[in-house]
Symmetry: C2
Subunit: 216 residues, 2 copies
DNA sequence: TAGATTGTTAATCGATTAACAATC
DNA sequence: TAGATTGTTAATCGATTAACAATC
């Protein structure tokens, strides 16, 4: 699924796609087969106009006079997001967060296969979590040379994050999911998404002091 | 710290504040005492103009011909974000994610005190993690009646999330940090920040398919 | 003082919303 | 066909960038 014209899709649009998909999933579970941009707007809070604009970035998924077919739109958005394929994932850093991600079994169902964790802690190396081995961090380059890895998850502290990133990129990993509170720069062709938990918490405390600034 | 005029600060500005703060922290560690918007721009990637605009939403923190004092700007941003006070936190759901948050000891240093976890699983109730008790979920309303809690963290599945939210709100909790993949609606006066991990991962896979759409 | 750099206004750019013709 | 609703163009709104006078 490529964009209609060769126009860059803005990040704002992309961030709304998972939300649409989630809403469509709910509709499917409710047994609703079709939906208009207006009804979707009532459920999701974006204007009908915005919904149509967003979707039309990727093609005409609707039908005049009818609306959108829920199942089909759900599938198309999944394709656009790249969720119609499988991904091999490794996690660097087997602290609590890394473990939480491994244990969150849903990722497996969604097509994300965690093949290994990496850590420097001697006592962890050689053990497994949910049958996934914890390997020595120093063997990461070798591992990447031998295995094709799509996504590398950085669950280390921020100090080691840049070095970990470098090793992942050198090893040909094209997607980085970063949980370290570091501002990493990736080369062209490599994508990164940051999950800065502390930033999110700071925004929460901001809005707690200034509830009048909340959008709604 | 309130905004200069009675103008609503946009969410985009607020989301940049933690980033500024992080950069200033680095500068402090490097022993740098003052910085101009131009130098900050080089480090952080936002334009100097944007940096000045952002900061001026909250007051004139700089000095013409000099720039900004690093320590003082760091402190002011901390105040704006509400990080100059303490928060009592409870976590609902003691699964892996809940545990990861408890174990992430830094939060304690930053002034977030986790006073209890809540869960429905009989075998967990009565145990502790890092001396923090896991209490029965059914006792949550009573707990909230007896203790003042600032922030409630939702680490349950998405099905129970709305009910948990309701209990927290009824109990007077004013800040919600939501990790459930649910689109929750909070009443006026209550703030919420969502950490939709799967949305973030979906955006990553999107950009992996469409690297040309990446900003940079 | 002269130079530097802010604070702030004005210009531009991009994203959202409105409107409506196309069409199922 | 008539009614509904999309796809798309045009208008509006807001956020970012540029410019520069104020001032340390």
């Amino acid at each position: 699924m490529t964009s209609k014209k060769n126009i860059r899709i803005s990040d704002a649009v992309i961030r709304r796609l998972p939300r649409y998909r989630r809403c469509l999933e709910t509709l499917m579970r409710e047994g609703i087969e079709r939906i208009s941009s207006g009804e979707l707007s009532d459920r999701i809070g974006y204007t009908a106009s915005q919904i149509r604009q967003d979707l039309n970035n990727f093609g005409g998924f609707g039908q005049q006079g009818y609306g959108y077919n829920v199942q089909s739109l759900y599938d198309r958005i999944g394709e656009i997001l790249g969720l119609d394929r499988k991904y091999t994932v490794i996690i660097v850093g087997s602290g609590n967060l890394g473990r939480a991600l491994v244990n969150y079994a849903k990722y497996q169902q969604w097509g994300f296969y965690i093949s290994a964790l990496f850590d420097v802690k001697e006592n962890l190396i050689g053990t497994t979590i949910r049958d996934i081995p914890i390997l020595a961090y120093e063997t990461l380059p070798d591992y990447l040379a031998e295995h094709s890895v799509d996504i590398g998850v950085i669950c280390t502290g921020k100090t080691s994050a840049p070095e970990v990133l470098q090793k992942l990129v050198d090893g040909g990993v094209k997607g980085i999911w970063n949980f370290a509170a570091a501002d990493l720069v990736v080369p062209k062709g490599v994508s990164i998404q940051d999950v800065h938990l502390s930033d999110s918490l700071s925004c929460l405390t901001y809005y707690m002091q200034h509830p009048e600034d909340s959008v709604r």
